[in-house]
Amino acid sequence: MQNETTPVVPRTIVPVKKKKLTAARKEELTFYALISPWIIGFIFFIVGPMIASLYISFTDWDLLTSASWVGFENYIKAFTGDPLFWQALKVTMIYSIFSVPLGLIVSLGIAMLLNQAVKGMSIFRTIYYLPAVVSGVAVMVLWMYIFNPQIGLLNTILSYFGIQGPGWIFDPKWALFSIIIMSLWGAGGGIIIWLAGLNGIPNYLYEAADLDGASRIQKFRHITVPMLTPTIFFNLITGIIGALQTFGQAYVMTKGGPMNSTLFFNYYLFRKAFEEFDMGYASALAWILFIIIFIFTLLVFKSSALWVHYEGERK
């Protein structure tokens, strides 16, 4: 029968296989030993807290007394009984919808300008990148001063042209727009990625287009843009994830005001958690934010098949 022959085979192969296995096994152990810091961090700072946060979102908890289970109440409250939730969502969406594409366009424009062959480019490169180097509270404080309606830089410059500037971050109509402007000042941070993308476009494509008599605009539209789509894709994803989590501008500059016109979602969440100690509700908000970010990322990923062009990829 079959059984009579099978024992023979392993007897000769097993020792060899075992030796190979131990080498592979050793490699495997080394791998896990090396990445163990990340695994530990992943468990204690990511997976564990994620599970805990999901649980907390179904409870009523003030951080001090014990949590009580409330089922979907926090989520129901957010969607049906909290106008500020919708306001926060609206503010964050408007900000993202404007600041991300505008940021992409501005930084691509700068990158294309910096990609021209003229003298002194390295100085310009440094200057354009400068605003992106500084970040955080110091920049926000600087911009509060720039936006100051009486003595700020913007209204001072406008006054030279006889224009009475608006109240910027102090005017509910202008506040969110002001923060979008501020975000564009730092858009130069993206230029290096763009420049890398631009440099990756093979020159022969432009040479061929020149021979065919293509104009600058045609070359931009039919060569530069398609070849840059992978870079656009990368910048779009990171831009969306970042914009949806805006926090500092609201906390430092406006406190979500005036009249909740800059009530960013992440700031509203922070307020619920660490000013009102409504941890259950804040956790529900965090999960809603996560799902929104996930959906947006997924949409961009799914749509990428339609508009992202990979050179060397077969269709």
Binding site: A52, L153, S215, G248
Partner: protein, 291 residues
């Protein structure tokens, strides 16, 4: 424009009028943009050197007269600024050490060792970059609170020793581009994994490690949310928290506030001027993800 084509074939050296016009346009745009980028910095510097009453004079003076250098001394003396600076340096330096140590080791693991589940773990790690910090914020806060770490620097420093997905990714890409021959030779010479990592990989990847250190410096130096959550005693504040605190004081004294902000920005600016090429290398590496 068939002109471009002809230009290349016939006369390469001489500039055609169209080309000169184009260059002028480029320069004009470049200079306008550069002014927009620089003017806020200039405004900040100018204000920081003004007499208090001059800040409110209209039309404003672009160049302060007299130039009050001692505004900087006054800012330092009127606030626990020195203390905040020291706190920020301690936290930033510790996180850089932690980040470099952990990310080097983890990235080396991902780059060089085959194991079941490696690719899945790598993808999981990349996916964590998408996770909004708000999701983990409350439980992590509770964890540190239970450990009695509120109003200590530990919550800001300790996590750095467990790696950072973005930096691990960055370093792993860098390691992958290094040929394995050197390591194979070292292995034959009897060098262990730690020895190879320390004596071969680290020296070879100094530029990448510098990039990570610079990014981590900027991240930790400017971090706001972390200190805001864990540090509530003014003595323990970082510069970011301190400036925010200073700003929310009754009367905003813009000249001192600008001086404080400028000093806070200065290390990032200096680091950028000194290490420009590391910024560029690091970012172009990270730009290489492309889907």
């Amino acid at each position: 424009m068939s002109m471009n084509g002809r230009e290349k074939i016939t006369n390469k050296k001489r500039l055609k009028p169209a080309k000169i016009v184009w260059q002028v346009i480029v320069y004009l745009l470049l200079i306008t943009g550069a002014i927009v980028m620089l003017i806020p910095f200039f405004w900040m510097l100018s204000t920081s050197l003004k007499e208090s009453f001059q800040v409110f004079s209209f039309p404003p003076k672009w160049i302060p007269d007299p130039i009050k250098w001692d505004n900087y001394v006054l800012t330092f003396n009127s606030l626990p600024f020195g203390k905040w600076l020291v706190n920020t340096v301690i936290i930033t330096a510790s996180t850089i050490v932690g980040t470099l140590l952990s990310c080097t080791i983890v990235a080396y693991g991902f780059a060089r060792f085959r194991a079941r589940g490696r690719n899945v773990l790598f993808l999981v790690m990349l996916a964590t970059m998408m996770l909004p910090s708000a999701v983990t914020m409350i439980p992590v806060f509770y964890l540190f609170k239970s450990l009695g770490w509120i109003n200590t620097f530990y919550p800001l420093i300790v996590p750095a020793f467990f790696g950072n997905a973005f930096f691990i990714f960055l370093l792993r890409q860098f390691y992958m581009s290094i040929p394995t021959e050197l390591e194979d030779a070292a292995k034959i010479d009897g060098l262990g994994t730690v020895g190879i990592l320390w004596r071969i990989i680290v020296p070879l990847t100094m530029p990448a490690l510098t990039t990570v250190a610079i990014f981590q410096f900027n991240g930790a130096w400017n971090d706001f949310m972390g200190p805001l959550l864990y540090l509530s005693k003014p003595d323990l504040y970082t510069l970011a928290l301190g400036i925010n605190f200073f700003k929310s004081q009754n009367d905003v004294q813009w000249n001192y506030l600008m001086a404080a902000s400028l000093v806070t920005m200065l290390p990032s600016l200096i680091l950028f001027f000194v290490g420009q090429k590391y910024f560029i290398e690091g970012i172009s590496l990270s730009g290489g993800i492309k889907g």
